[in-house]
């Protein structure tokens, strides 16, 4: 049984949960149906969560579905992604608490925003520039505010020592340190300026998708004790102000919220008067929740869920139930990583690649409702996505070509490899399918299904694994949140740990492309460098893409406007959803 927490929390969990794009571009997928009835204000929506969230503190939230749905309900940001189904529009931030989407300087190393008038916290106080600065500063107290994204640590222009910022966050900072930080994020009335130590071309995307630059009211802050407290500024507030990790919470209308400061059509319709979030943290949560949705009785008629319909339950989705069902592409890609330390022969890597039977893997995982073949590690809807040329061709696995390559490699055959993966019945079957083709080609495959310790084991440099199953979803719609965290050896690899670079892959040529991308002052240049970096990974067979996951959603019969968008990470777009009254 897979542990839910690990699925969510592991640094690079297979079902990575970063915010991202979704609803496959254009695409042959059955798109989410546009909503069953015209939505109107009022009523109570029930959101059934199949796992507990990790924190209610905006600076500690890193769970894709939560970032997206709380952006629509509790926490507004400087900018936000609109609820547009079009991948281009949906991936382009619009103004939220700020008056526009920001003005960069020439090399995009400095960004300026103006905060709207009349935007307020739920207690009626104004949201100020200082609140934004304070929120951003909390991320630096990463011994207290643990868990959230911390990209800003390497970007904000504060004094550094050994490549690390010396600013310890607002709690421990000396007046001098605080003064330095207040220069990095400068406040001038309603005007806020972010000064970075290098260009950050996609900063608005990061600010829209993550909450690391969200405002936080200093007088409300109790450090670690604030983990479950909510001070909302969106259309809803949390009843009681404290989230119950095990039970959830009820969102009610926030009277201090003024619709006029917002763009409801684009950002949040906020239809229900109440949204009841209830957590079911059990291992069978998805089964139970979807059974309930199939039964469609009582409050469950007004319910949506984060629990996907398990592949084994898909055959129950027929008739009337099918009208309440959506099958959508997700932002998550599953891939195999090759251990650069043990799989050193390029011909062998190539042979493994060409004989990888993606079709059978998908079949074993549950068929075309569960995934479609991937041609790159990057999700197809990410701006700048292109098929990686290294993975062109059919997906059934070419045994003959692999045989030839192995013969040419000069290695003793059959070539032994160990395939490691997080153990589950479907993974067992899928990996078995890989094993079959690979062995036909001349490999000798040892299957190594691991339990809860999986990611700890495969991040060790001295592991026995030669090939590892992994998954990733980008944090915001940019390849900057894909290639650098997964294959840049510099932040990842140490003597004792390869971190997210499970294969301990190291390539100076590749790293150089990443630096180019990081320092690019416009998105086009950044995209070009990243495309080239993916080509290098493909050429080196650093990874082998398997499939893009698809999500299967059910909802209650009285739910209106159900849809998914790129901004909602293919989870229910709560900004659009209402209930029949």
């Amino acid at each position: 049984m897979r542990s839910k927490l690990r699925r969510i929390g592991a640094a690079a969990a297979a079902a990575g949960l970063g915010l991202s794009l979704a609803a496959c571009g254009g695409s042959g997928s059955d798109d989410a149906s546009g909503g069953d009835a015209e939505g109107s204000k009022g009523g109570t929506l029930h959101y059934l969560l199949n796992a507990p969230i990790e924190s209610a503190d905006p600076q500690r939230v890193y769970y894709g579905f939560q970032l997206a749905s709380w952006r629509r309900t509790l926490y507004r940001g400087l900018v936000a992604f609109p609820m547009d189904k079009d991948e281009k529009a949906g991936n382009t931030p619009v103004a939220d608490l700020a008056t526009d989407t920001g003005t960069p300087n020439e090399d995009a190393s400095s960004w300026e925003f103006t905060i709207k008038d009349g935007v307020k916290w739920e207690d009626g106080s104004d949201i100020t520039c200082e609140d934004f600065r304070y929120g951003a500063s909390r991320v630096f107290a990463n011994d207290v505010i643990t868990g959230g994204p911390n990209y800003t640590l390497s970007y904000l222009d504060v004094p550094q020592k050994d490549g690390k910022p010396t600013y310890p966050g607002p709690y421990k900072a000396t007046p001098e340190q605080q003064a330095e930080f207040d220069k990095a994020i400068a406040c001038d009335g309603n005007k806020i300026t972010y000064n970075f130590n290098k260009p950050w071309a996609d900063f608005p995307l990061a600010a829209a998708g993550m909450m690391m630059t969200d405002p936080y009211k200093e007088s409300f802050d109790e450090g670690p004790k604030s983990e479950w407290k909510v001070l909302a500024n969106g259309p809803y507030k949390l009843e009681g102000g404290v989230w119950d990790k095990n039970k959830g919470g009820t969102m009610v209308r926030n009277e201090a919220y003024d619709e006029k400061t917002d763009d409801p059509e684009k950002l949040r319709l906020a239809l229900p008067d109440e949204i009841v979030w209830s957590v079911d943290g059990s291992d069978e949560a998805s089964e139970i929740i979807n059974q309930r949705l199939i039964a469609d009785s009582g409050d469950d008629q007004y319910a949506i869920t984060t629990g996907r319909v398990p592949a084994t339950m898909l055959q129950q989705v027929t008739g009337a139930v099918e009208e309440r069902y959506s099958n959508v592409l997700s932002p998550y890609v599953r891939y195999l990583v090759l251990n650069a330390k043990s799989m050193t022969n390029p011909k062998v890597r190539e042979a493994l690649k060409v004989s990888t039977d993606i079709d059978s893997v998908i079949k074993a995982q549950g068929g075309d409702k569960i995934g479609v073949p991937a041609e790159s590690l990057v999700n197809p809807v990410t701006p700048g996505y292109q098929d990686n040329p290294a993975f062109e061709g059919d997906n059934a696995g070419d045994v003959e070509a692999a045989k030839k390559l192995l013969e040419e490699s000069g290695e003793k055959l059959p070539y032994p490899i160990q395939l490691s993966y997080a153990k589950s019945p479907t993974n067992d079957a899928a990996m078995g399918a890989l094993q079959q083709k690979w062995e036909a080609a001349g490999f000798k495959v040892t299957l190594d299904g691991l339990g809860d310790t999986y990611y700890d084991v495969i991040s060790k440099p001295d592991k026995k694994s030669d090939v590892m199953l992994a998954g990733w979803g980008n944090d915001w719609p940019s390849m900057m949140t894909v290639m650098p965290p997964l294959f840049d050896s510099r932040p990842n690899v140490s003597a004792t740990d390869c971190n997210n670079d499970y294969g301990c892959y190291h390539s100076d040529e590749f790293n150089k492309k990443l630096d180019e991308a990081a320092n690019a002052s416009d998105l086009d240049a950044q995209i070009k460098a990243l495309q080239e970096s993916d080509e290098i990974l493909g050429k080196d067979v650093a990874y082998i893409p398997l499939y893009v996951e698809k999500f299967n959603w059910l909802r209650g019969s009285k739910v209106t406007g159900f849809d998914v968008t790129p901004a909602s990470s293919s989870y229910p777009e709560i900004g659009l959803i209402g209930v029949q009254n």
Partner: protein, 338 residues
């Protein structure tokens, strides 16, 4: 008697210290890095070192253990970083003795978490206990007085069949079919007596408690049957019959009274171990008791919570042993505790 209790308690304290040490040692022998979870999804190796230090996991484990024992004895303040505490005194959480620890992931003391979870687990254990005791004793007696007959075989065989099912399967069956599909009972969700009254509390406990009770039922049926058969063959039962007592009185009063002694021992110890948390049942029914807390803590490598629960479970078992021994003296007038 009191000297006995004190002596047993002292041994208990030593056992508990050993328990914490073993838990610490096991935790640090595991390849799981506790900082991975606290640090988040996209965490560089460097970042993780900072997190590890912030959680105190960078210290030698004996030091951590000693700190833990200190908290148990006199309490501790969190965060552990003195500088941090001085800088932000309003963020300090005091964990009074006996401090079971502090979960950085939940920003709560383990004592608070246990205080939330224990009533749930205890409710579950109590209702289950009542179910399996009533069922076990009644069926056990039924089988005993019909020894060798079809009834006897039916009862023993039937409970054995139930016992053969993993509790996981029973739990999922009860939840998916009885609650969700057939809707015979509403979906069980733990309800405090204070919130919904006694009936709401009880009716929500029915299915999970039944799951647990079925697990223990077979054992108690067989035990009761054996104990009752044994006491039915005693001389004093013949005396009771010779006095002209009704056979109901003979079985339920005289035979059961004697069979009660070993039953009470078993029940006490089983109940104590259940108070440590019924992991599978709690997990399937989403009861946030100690079992669920244990699994969550294990999955997120939250050492403080793990040690705290091990400690608590250990204490419960040790106390239960003492209680059962003392109870024995009351149940069996011939026994003198010394």
């Amino acid at each position: 008697m009191w000297a006995y209790v004190v002596r047993r308690c002292l041994v208990g304290v030593a056992l508990i210290m050993a328990l914490t040490l073993i838990t610490f040692a096991l935790f640090f022998a595991s390849p799981v890095d506790p900082a991975r979870f606290a640090c988040g999804k996209n965490c560089s190796a460097e970042q993780r070192d900072v997190t590890r230090a912030a959680l105190g996991y960078d210290k030698p484990f004996v030091v951590q253990w000693a700190g833990y024992l200190k908290g148990l004895a006199v309490g501790r303040d969190f965060p552990l970083d003195a500088e941090q505490r001085a800088a932000a005194p309003d963020q300090v959480t005091h964990c009074a003795a006996p401090c079971l620890g502090y979960s950085h992931l939940d920003s709560k003391t383990v004592n608070e978490m246990v205080a939330d979870a224990l009533p749930i687990t205890a409710s579950l254990a109590i209702v289950a206990l009542v179910m399996w005791l009533i069922g076990g004793v009644l069926f056990g007696i039924l089988a005993a007085i019909h020894q060798g007959s079809l009834i006897d075989r039916g009862v023993v065989g039937g409970t054995l069949v139930i016992y053969a099912f993993p509790s996981f399967a029973i739990a999922v069956f009860l939840l998916q079919y009885v609650a969700v599909k057939w809707g015979i009972v509403p979906l069980p969700r733990y309800t405090e007596i204070a919130d919904g009254g006694l009936w709401a509390w009880f009716s929500n406990l029915l299915l999970p408690a039944l799951t647990l009770a079925l697990l223990y039922l077979a054992g108690y049926v067989r035990m009761t049957r054996a104990f009752v058969l044994e006491s039915l063959s005693e001389d004093y039962i013949r005396t009771a019959k010779a006095k002209g007592l009704k056979s109901r009185t003979v079985v339920f009063k005289h035979a059961l009274r004697a069979a009660l002694t070993p039953l009470v021992t078993m029940t006490g110890l089983d109940f104590a171990s259940l108070l440590g948390g019924a992991i599978i049942t709690e997990r399937v029914f989403t009861y946030h008791g100690l079992g669920m807390l244990t699994v969550d803590a294990n999955n997120s490598s939250d050492l403080a919570v793990l040690v705290g629960i091990v400690l608590l479970a250990g204490m419960i078992v040790i106390i239960a042993n003492i209680v059962v021994d003392v109870l024995y003296a009351y149940i069996d007038p011939r026994v003198k505790v010394a």
